[in-house]
Assembly symmetry: C2
Homo-oligomer: 459 residues x 2
């Protein structure tokens, strides 16, 4: 532990500067106009892997953005850890809400503000620096492989093919991902599950053209009004989702499981104050921790139709649309839920409009075992560097590829995230605490150490 702390201490400024440089690339995978920047980011990551001591570093082309691979095999008989991360980021808009520009990282009260600061540049880069540390201090205890992709924020559309085609090259004993959050530095936690996702777009069409709302209003269905009525009908008064069969496959937890989950520190007033809301909302019969962890949801991510410019336009629009995503929990299947939504939404559409449902992408929910060697290694690593055993939690977000790795590579994943829920992921003013960044770099080598040791004991 001393060598680790010392190395981090001696290199902290450089570690920070390199991350800031990485954050300056506007690697927005959802927006084609950033194509060059996304590709340049892949180059940067590949170079840093080489500098840190990785071998066989390659920018692997895909039908979309490339995947950066690199590895260090010290002894084929030793266990191998596959580190996954993503160098692409969410769109930054609404830009006007950023205090400082999203791609000009700025440090305020010990926090780095930039799009991608936490999700996921700040977090995957900790692994490259921890790897550098283990190489330089000649303490790498196991084999390590890196797979950093550039399409996570748009559904990892090409990662599946890559994994299928490179099973040998990616062969490992566990996947290690830092792309989630912990409760706090005082209350470190480890996520033991993630929600799945079904993301789609709906379009409601009324008349074949925009109409004058005075001449036609009252006699022709307004697709914006109808879209609102359809969306409103998707939740009942208890905020249950009304899609027939939606909950059929939901894995319900035992009382004990629910209780231990609810033991995680949570202060409702702090939670409300942080969000600036007077009251919370959610499915009746469940706590906030359960609503975001073990229950599925349906959210409108975007809605638009008619005249949305300055001033007034008295138009009865021809179309109205919405982007809707559902978070899924263990045992639900993304494709099945997408299909259930499509059938239901089409079935409730009144005859005076046409509806179109277009699936975007999805991902399966996962549960990671807490009795595995890898989980125990993460637990010990955190306990040593934080001085406190981590609390097992369920993450509300989705990392679809976790299920993919399990299916294709037959290995489990450990979600060792160092972010905070307050890091504004996907929001303006995304940030990452410098303390968490350094703490992560200190903790990761301990994970590799204990994973190697415990794997040995096991055999």
């Amino acid at each position: 532990m001393q060598t680790i702390k010392q190395y981090v201490e001696e290199n902290k400024q450089r570690f920070l500067d390199e991350l800031l440089e990485l954050l300056r690339f506007p690697s927005v995978s959802a927006d084609p106009s950033y194509k060059e920047d996304v590709l340049n980011t892949a180059d940067y990551v590949a170079n840093k892997l080489r500098e840190a001591g990785a071998e066989n570093v390659e920018i692997c082309p895909t039908a979309g953005y490339p995947i950066v691979f690199g590895e260090k095999i010290i002894d084929p008989s030793k266990p191998t850890v596959l580190v996954y991360g993503h160098y692409d980021v969410q769109p930054a808009d609404p830009l006007e809400l950023w205090k400082t520009p999203p791609f000009e990282p700025t440090i305020r009260d010990e926090k780095i503000f930039a799009r991608g600061a936490c999700d996921d540049k700040g977090q995957f880069y900790m692994h490259i620096k921890a790897f550098e540390l283990m190489i330089k201090s000649d303490s790498l205890p196991c084999n390590i492989k890196f797979m950093i992709e550039g399409e996570e924020e748009v559904g990892s559309s090409n990662l599946g093919l890559f994994v299928k085609a490179n099973k040998e090259r990616l062969k490992s004993d566990v996947v290690l991902i830092s792309d989630t959050s912990m409760i706090s530095l005082e209350n470190p936690s480890l996520e033991t599950g993630l929600r799945g996702l079904s993301y789609l777009e709906v379009e409601v069409t009324g008349p074949n053209r925009d109409l004058h709302s005075g001449v036609y209003g009252g006699a022709v269905a307004n697709p914006a009004t109808v879209l609102c009525q359809l969306i409103a009908s998707l939740h009942d008064t208890n905020n249950h989702i009304t899609i027939p069969g939606f909950y059929d496959d939901v894995l319900s937890l035992s009382e004990e499981e629910r209780n231990s989950l609810n033991e995680a520190p949570y202060n409702e007033d702090e939670f409300k104050n942080d969000l600036g809301v007077k009251a919370l909302w959610g499915e009746q019969g469940y706590s906030t921790i359960e609503r975001t962890g073990i229950r599925p949801t349906l959210e409108v991510n975007g809605i638009w139709g008619g005249y949305i410019g300055e001033g007034a336009k008295t138009v009865l629009p021809s179309k109205a649309s919405a982007k809707i995503s559902m978070r899924l929990v263990p045992n639900q299947q993304s494709d099945k839920i997408t299909q259930l939504f499509k059938e239901h939404f089409e079935s409730i559409a009144p005859e005076y409009v046409n509806v179109k449902v277009t699936p975007h992408h999805g991902g399966e929910p996962v549960v990671t075992p807490t009795d595995s060697v890898a989980y125990k290694a993460a637990e010990k690593a955190i306990e040593e560097s934080f001085g406190k055993k981590p609390i097992p939690t369920r993450g509300g977000g989705s990392i679809p590829i976790v299920a993919l790795f399990e299916a294709e590579l037959g290995i489990k994943t450990v979600l060792m995230g160092f972010g905070l829920d307050s890091d504004n992921l996907h929001s303006p003013n995304e940030k990452y605490d410098i303390a968490n960044y350094y703490k992560g770099i200190e903790t990761i080598p301990l994970f590799h150490k204990y994973f190697a040791e415990l794997s040995l004991e096991q055999n």
Copy 2:
């Protein structure tokens, strides 16, 4: 009638070319970026008035866009007609739906396609050409005043002050407006009433920032979902508006009045086919003609919130907004309805969101008497030029200033419109039939002739 027909025949091409030139000005009053174009349009109109023979032509400044005034007083003892029109137009978007650019007027099958072709450039310009005709043929039978404004499409915000300040100058016996439609050239009609308007914007705010829909989804109210629920609740299952007191002041018509209204030619299948809808929608218990004529409505003119760009973003938005307008019928008051909406919308907002209701503008509904000299003159004029007595109809649109003239100048208005409901007002591919344009120019001098004659008889 012969002189009229002959003059129109001899000048048809020039009449058309001048209108096309007028239509090339993108005089969009709602969008500040067109300011220069709107002002240039006012100059063009003023010059054309002068060329036609108007005196005291002036571009009268207001706090917004100027009002073009001009007049010809042949004999103060003779009756005076005040012609009103507007040279501003609706925004042209969505641009991609225009077959030819909105400000490059194009003629296809005897129709002029351009923004403003019918509303209102094509219609008010008929009056300038008819005036030219009466001057050149020395047949102007009464005094005439022109007041062409530039802010009708944004609520005529400054016209009220101008009228109040210029009562003497505007003193007339009747207001003549061509800014409405008739059923068809085969079934000419005259509008005897117009709906009022209350236009406002609502904003629903949930959390103080956009949130990650995975981390927070399910535990925090989504303002887009809530906005949909609130909008959905504004109509009941019979498509009645649910705002308490909304219908209190509605003037209901007698059976005879309703029957005569429903005698207007209307073919439901043609109506549906033209709009491309399988079924119609509207308030239970009323016909399409009643729904668009004598009943109030509530329409969503625009809605937006969250991520509406390309691709997917898993965001739980902080805000969602909508532009909503209500069409009012005789006896309802714009301010009162706006207030009722505001109070109701705020009262139904759940505690987990904040709502803000911002009134845009409004206008009062009007009924024009069918027993007045002016109406009879219009009736005779149309009967002579169309060979058919006009059918009295109720217009669904709103021309707020009609009520203003009645209040401030104490005179009634005649709505002699030559447009068609199928002219795509406020929509892409707005058009005006060349035949209607010429027919209007032929009919207007007859109105002045009979108005002068009948006024004389009356005294």
